[in-house]
């Protein structure tokens, strides 16, 4: 049965007599206020879709009798609470609650849904915590928590052996990841990692074995990494599917000298694979990452390494003085340098593909030697000057 009648207010009671009904799709019945209690009599029901029934405020408790139910979609409804009987839906595989913005909590008994594979809680913005029982959902493969305001994840999340996908986009309140998350060897799609403060949370090194097929990765709270070695153990370089990497320090005010050194070590340890977009925010070290510079330490290998890098966005580096010897970035199209109060000089390149260069709030930046790539070919090759590391070879800079 598939209905999309926007004026439908309720279903007849007799619906309970439909003993062969398997699928009930009422999605987009925008004025539907309630489901008849008799729905619990439809023994064969395996799928209920009530998404976008925007006036629906509750499910009848009788729904617990639909033991054959495998899919329950109630996204974009006004539901504030799930019926306590939900724990008896022992065949439920997919529970979609996306954008149930009134939903304040999940019942702890959700832990009885032993067959649950997909739990979608995206944009359930009233939800501030998840029941610990979620850690018992052994079959769970996909947990979507994008745009949730959770402060923590259930501690036992490391038990969800079958978890493949964990979405945490825009979970701005999340303080860290629970310890043990790094053991989830099947968790290969992970877009965000939050480094928390203290022993309670997973260290960044737990990132080593998870998120292997993610194309995007945002690492937040890097200020909580206490040892450079930990950063190195995250083995970012081995995540070869990675295209976009975002490294964020979310607090950078209390910087002693020891701290700037630690941050330097941490950034050095987070060497990425050959990515396309790199954004770094809030780094408080005095020097930039060795893996992107020619002169310091190892360098050199960076040349082949970043041959596909298109966008570099570096913002709010309070202590960086020099951004020197940046490696040759043949595909770099966009370079943004924003808010670096101590930056005095920049050099490096060439960036022959550069089309957009933005420099904002760099109050101490003095003389910069910009050598356009095109003009370099006639006359000197730049080799002589380059050894001084003072040139900033920008190539074709334009702004489309």
């Amino acid at each position: 049965m598939h209905l999309t009648c926007s004026d439908l207010l309720e279903l007849p009671k007799s619906i309970g007599k439909l003993q062969k009904l398997r699928t009930l799709n009422l999605s987009h019945c925008g004025n539907l206020k309630c489901l008849s209690d008799s729905i619990g009599d439809c023994n064969m029901l395996s799928s209920i879709d009530l998404c976008y029934c925007m006036e629906l405020t509750a499910l009848p408790n009788s729904i617990g009798r639909n033991e054959n139910l495998r899919v329950l979609r109630i996204g974009y409804t006004k539901i504030e609470k799930l019926p306590s009987s939900i724990n008896t839906l022992r065949n439920l595989e997919c529970l979609d609650l996306e954008s149930c913005r009134g939903l304040a909590e999940l019942p702890g008994s959700i832990s009885n849904l032993h067959k649950l594979q997909v739990l979608n809680l995206e944009s359930c913005t009233r939800l501030v915590e998840l029941p610990e029982g979620i850690s018992n959902l052994q079959k769970l493969q996909v947990l979507n928590l994008n745009f949730c305001r959770l402060k923590e994840l259930p501690e036992g999340i490391g038990n969800l052996e079958n978890l493949h996908v964990l979405n945490l986009k825009w979970c701005q309140k999340l303080g860290g990841m629970p310890r043990g998350i790094g053991q989830l060897s099947r968790l290969q799609k992970l877009g965000q990692f939050f480094v928390g403060e203290g022993e309670k949370f997973a260290r960044i090194s737990e990132l080593a074995n998870i998120g292997g097929i993610s194309e995007d990765l945002i690492i937040r709270g890097i200020e909580h990494v206490m040892e450079p070695n930990d950063a190195q153990k995250a083995c970012l370089k081995q995540k070869t599917n990675l295209q976009r990497l975002n490294l964020e320090w979310n607090r950078y005010d209390d910087v002693g000298e020891a701290n700037t050194e630690l941050q330097q070590g941490v950034l050095d340890g987070l060497e990425p694979p050959g990515i396309k977009v790199l954004e770094i925010h809030g780094y408080s070290g005095t020097q930039y990452a060795w893996w992107m510079q020619n002169e310091v330490g190892g360098g050199g290998q960076g040349i082949a390494h970043f041959s596909f890098l298109r966008v570099v966005n570096l913002s709010t580096f309070p202590n960086l003085k020099r951004l020197c010897g940046l490696v040759d970035l043949p595909c770099l199209e966009e370079l943004v340098l924003y808010n670096m109060p101590s930056l005095e000089s920049i050099s490096g390149g060439p960036f022959p593909s550069l089309v957009k260069l933005e420099m904002e709030n760099l109050p101490c930046l003095g003389e910069v030697w910009m050598v356009a790539e095109r003009t370099m070919s006639d006359g000197e090759e730049g080799g002589g000057c380059n050894c001084l590391g003072q040139e900033f070879r920008v190539g074709i800079v334009c702004h489309i």
Partner: protein, 157 residues
């Protein structure tokens, strides 16, 4: 290219000639000088792709744009279609080379202390919009204004 809030920035030997759009806000006059320099380049020195140039809030400027040839960069920007100069009080005159901007469609001047427009402004045959605001030193407009055959919008307040 966008440069904002970099008061000490100075570019040597000059900015890339391939720029299509240049926005400069809160920069020093030193950076402007690098726009007019041609050392190391042939006589063909020009920003031959530059279409849009915004200049806002310049500090530490001592010369008129035309008086010291070091600062006369407009002559190198002949492909310019839009020029905006905002909050540049030290600017007391625009150079005669303004008239060589044959593609210029939009000229906006706000909060500058110039007393008149150069005579060559009459050569701006593509100019569709001329807007001057908060330029209290302006007492008269050049007679050649009538030669702006494409002008659609004239705003002065």
């Amino acid at each position: 290219m966008t440069v904002t809030g970099c008061p000490k920035l100075k570019v040597e030997p000059c900015l890339p000639l391939s720029l299509q759009q240049l926005d400069m806000t809160s920069v020093s006059a030193q950076l402007l000088e690098s726009l007019g320099r041609c050392e190391g380049y042939s006589s063909l020195f020009s920003f031959s792709h530059l279409k849009k140039f915004n200049l806002e809030n310049v500090t530490g400027f001592r010369y008129g744009l035309g008086s010291g040839c070091r600062c006369n960069f407009l002559q190198h920007m002949t492909t310019l279609e839009a020029l905006k100069i905002d909050n540049f009080h030290a600017l007391t005159e625009l150079p005669e080379s303004l008239g060589s901007l044959h593609s210029l469609q939009k000229l906006t001047i706000d909060s500058c202390d110039m007393s008149s427009l150069p005579k060559s402004v009459g050569h701006l045959t593509s100019l569709q919009s001329l807007r001057m605001s908060n330029c209290s030193a302006i007492h008269e407009l050049p007679k050649c204004l009538g030669e702006l055959c494409s002008l659609q919008q004239l705003t002065i307040w």
